[in-house]
């Protein structure tokens, strides 16, 4: 089971507590999360189920390489961190 952590900035919009989820890819893990919280999907992924342009996903501190299919490998005890790309105004 991977640990899934969401940026505090996202908590302002939607309930997304720290949680664990099974899966061997980033997409598989996130699909488990979305199954329990369907509304969260559109905050992380765009209309085509790609990672949103201004959202970043890291696994154990490394940015994922496949933002379209989310195929990066996940091991047990990995930590998947979802946060916003920094920009402002």
């Amino acid at each position: 089971m991977a640990r899934v952590v969401f940026t505090a900035n996202l908590h302002r919009h939607i309930d997304c507590p720290l949680q664990t989820a099974p899966g061997r890819s980033v997409r598989a893990v996130l699909e488990h999360v979305f199954a329990a919280q369907p509304r969260l999907r559109s905050y992380i992924l765009d209309d085509q189920d790609r990672v949103r342009k201004h959202v970043a996903i890291y696994v154990n501190g490394e940015r994922i390489t496949d933002r379209e299919r989310l195929s990066d490998w996940i091991d047990d005890d990995d930590e998947l961190f979802v946060f916003q790309a920094l920009s402002g105004g």
Partner: protein, 357 residues
Amino acid sequence: MSDRLLVGTKKGLFELRRNHADWSIAASHFLGDPISMLLADPRDGTLYAAEALGHFGVKLQRSRDDGKSWQEIPAPAFPKSDTDGLSVSYLFCLETAGADRPGWLWCGTIPGALFLSKDHGESWTLNQALWDLPERKDWMGGGFDDAGVASICVDPRNSTQVTIGVSTGGVWRSGDDGASWHAASEGMHAEYYPPPRNHAPEVQDIHRLVQCPAAPDSLWVQHHNGVFRSTDGARSWQEVTTIRPAKFGFAAAVHPHDPDTAWFVPGVKDECRLPVDARLAVARTRDGARSFEVLTKGLPQQHAYDLVYRHALSVDATGTRLAMGSTTGHLWITEDGGDAWSLEAGHMPPISCVRFG
């Protein structure tokens, strides 16, 4: 008269209410979040607020208790595609789809597309006929990366007659509820586009299209390079050359009962986009564009750098009360059709849209 004004800003939704002669901010919602569009549905009192969250995409909120509580509902989204599919980046306009069809809504988006909901926004369907227009390939971004459907007018006499304005992409009409579309920009020209295609319908930059509810064959357009008027249901357009102090602008409003009365907020043309001589003015015609009055009473006449976006000028159902919000967070209201304006809020975030209701 409507005693409530909804104001969408870069940092939230504000609700102003009129108490005796004064307007004040009565409530705020979604503080910190950019609001792109608002709708107060006169058919059932439902409020809708479209958000453009910088990181997390477009969202749509609905309130069925007059703004006391809000529920997130699905936002329009493009169908999944095996190829290079698109994603909605902005909810640009939101309109009811006719008094005879409760709960039906039209939504115009960036990239330029039209979506219909038949269930109070619970689900949305892409209008495929508009999306499949060959001319759509020539639409361009107008202030945004992609083209956008910025205006939707539903004919009060017949809800299946829909006219839209695309920035940049011309005026399009459907007489069959969106099953088919035809270009309706005859008479317009684009100064910014090289000839001979500067008269092509799909290159016209329609900043704002409005339709007179009492005389729906009368429409006005604030175009990128001027103002155009139609009196024959958008079959043809005539350029308005009498407007002053400038012909550039974004916003337009038409009197709900008098098709000859319309308001615009002129500015220095596109390279600059500021009030002429830094004096904020509203241009009003009451004779079908034969002449214009430049209305300045109550508006700043020195060092005013306010720009009024396309959805930030609104007229209420009486035609005498209007509201206007600017990019520098000033909000003015007039109670006499624009003869005099009163600054009702002066420290708001940049204002994207205002609506009575």
